[in-house]
């Protein structure tokens, strides 16, 4: 299982990377390689040029930028997992990251790579979808910004512009108030592509009453989706309320059938995980208030 031949370029700057990608429509970005290289090895993918951006300093790092936390594309998943800033300001992402692959894949895999391949079971993509993060590209058209719902179409298929370079993903910082996040997924084995996943973030006021609730479902269809559980606002996130809101929000959820799991299973599992994620988020928010 050897990759088909390709040319390897390691640009010295983002501009050079962009130029290399723009020059050849069959070029691909190589960052962490954890998704792309298996496809190369099986020859499902055969680009003519690989543009290795993994060492570009301008594509590495996590920083605050106003009301956002910017994670540059080639930042390792393991770095994001260790980041205090992420833990403090983007708790849902922090809750999602331990579910990404295994330690050796997180050590190389990048935040941008996870998003760029459009895998519906990618945990980072789900967190981005729930939180309304923005996905930023540099292309011939200049800088382009995508909302997750306009970006993910299906496995490997995204709205990424031709020859574009994913530069960073900007996550909104946590809202004011008592914030809690919950992330749940189910797969045959820990670390596998999930059959269903759910990410939730809730905000409580001082009395424990919910002021905002967000929920997203991943892995069940072509793309992660944010679903509307805004009706939970104003309540106390009781188990009944959560169940009712989830049942309503997930009505008509599009689920795929495959060898490993049926659509029926995915739909029911998504609901169960959504309930668990919301409850986990609620409990985390309550605990935050208690401290």
């Amino acid at each position: 299982m050897k990759a088909a031949p390709f040319e390897y370029i390691r640009p010295a700057s983002v501009e050079e990377a962009r130029a290399a990608l723009g020059a050849d429509p069959d070029s691909r970005v190589l960052a962490g390689g954890q998704t792309l290289v298996p496809m190369l090895a099986m020859r499902l993918s055969r680009p003519s040029v690989l543009v290795d951006v993994s060492r570009l300093a301008d594509l590495r790092g996590i920083e605050e930028s106003g009301e956002r936390v910017v994670i540059r594309a080639a930042t390792r998943q393991a770095e994001a997992l260790r980041s205090d800033l992420v833990r403090r300001e983007v708790p849902l992402l922090a809750a999602a990251l331990p579910h990404v692959g295994h330690p050796p894949t997180r050590a190389r895999g990048t935040v941008g790579g996870s998003v760029a391949h459009g895998d519906p079971s990618a945990e980072i993509s789900l967190a981005a979808t729930v939180l309304g993060a923005t996905i930023h590209f540099l292309s011939d058209e200049g800088e382009e910004e995508f909302a997750p719902e306009d970006f993910f179409f299906g496995p490997t298929v995204t709205a990424a512009p031709m020859g574009g370079l994913l530069t960073h993903v900007a996550f909104p910082k946590r809202p004011k108030g008592r914030v809690g996040a919950g992330f749940r997924e189910v797969a045959s084995r820990r670390g596998d592509y999930a059959f269903a996943s759910a990410g939730a973030q809730v905000v409580l006021d001082g009395d424990g009453s919910c002021t905002e609730a967000r929920l997203g479902i991943g892995s069940v269809g072509d793309a992660p989706v944010a679903v509307d559980v805004s009706e939970l606002a104003g309540g106390t996130l009781s188990q009944q309320d959560i169940q009712a809101a989830v049942a309503e929000a997930l009505e008509g959820l599009d689920c795929v059938d495959d060898l490993h799991a049926t659509a029926t299973y995915r739909r029911r599992a998504a609901a169960r995980l959504a309930e668990q994620a919301l409850a986990e988020a609620r409990d985390a928010a309550l605990e935050e208030g208690a401290q």
């Binding site: 691909r28 792309l36 496809m39 499902l44 993918s45 299906g154 490997t156 298929v157």
Partner: protein
């Protein structure tokens, strides 16, 4: 593995123009994603060479295309079979064209395919989404073709 594709597309072209376009190797070469070559080998029979590419997924496909049951300008059935570096594909699709207004038509299509080899064995996760994307690309190109030929005609 079995695949099904089904849909309807509104195209800004008359029924006749659409019919002609769908029977014109030059138009098809332009619109079929990754089509490098389409050679007529007999009445309603073609050989195609494709270089497919959807995001990271890519590979070659050489196939034979045949048109059957033609009812000009309304209906035809297309069969395709072939293979390449990604595996094999065989399929049949029915097309029906309805006129929906002056210079606009609707193309209804419904097809089933059978995929074998590499993609069936290792790429099932991506197959559906790639197929949908290629279909979308085809119709985007087809629309563009008629938009351009419309402009040229105007």
């Amino acid at each position: 593995m079995k695949m099904e594709l089904k849909g309807s597309e509104e195209i800004a072209a008359s029924r006749e123009a659409l019919w002609e376009g769908l029977n014109d190797p030059a138009v098809l070469t332009k619109c079929i994603p990754g089509c490098k070559e389409m050679v007529e080998t007999g009445p309603d029979a073609y050989e195609v060479k494709l270089q497919l590419k959807v995001a990271a997924v890519g590979g070659s496909f050489d196939g034979k295309v045949r048109l059957h049951d033609k009812e000009e300008p309304v209906h035809c059935r297309i069969t395709i079979s072939g293979g390449g570096s990604l595996g094999t594909g065989n399929g049949t699709a029915e097309f029906r064209i309805e006129e929906t207004g002056p210079g606009t038509s609707r193309l209804d299509y419904e097809g089933t395919g059978e995929i074998g080899g590499l993609v069936a064995g290792v790429g099932q996760r991506v197959l559906g989404s790639v197929a949908k994307h290629l279909t979308k690309q085809f119709f985007t190109a087809l629309r563009k073709h008629f938009a351009e030929s419309g402009e040229a005609a105007a």
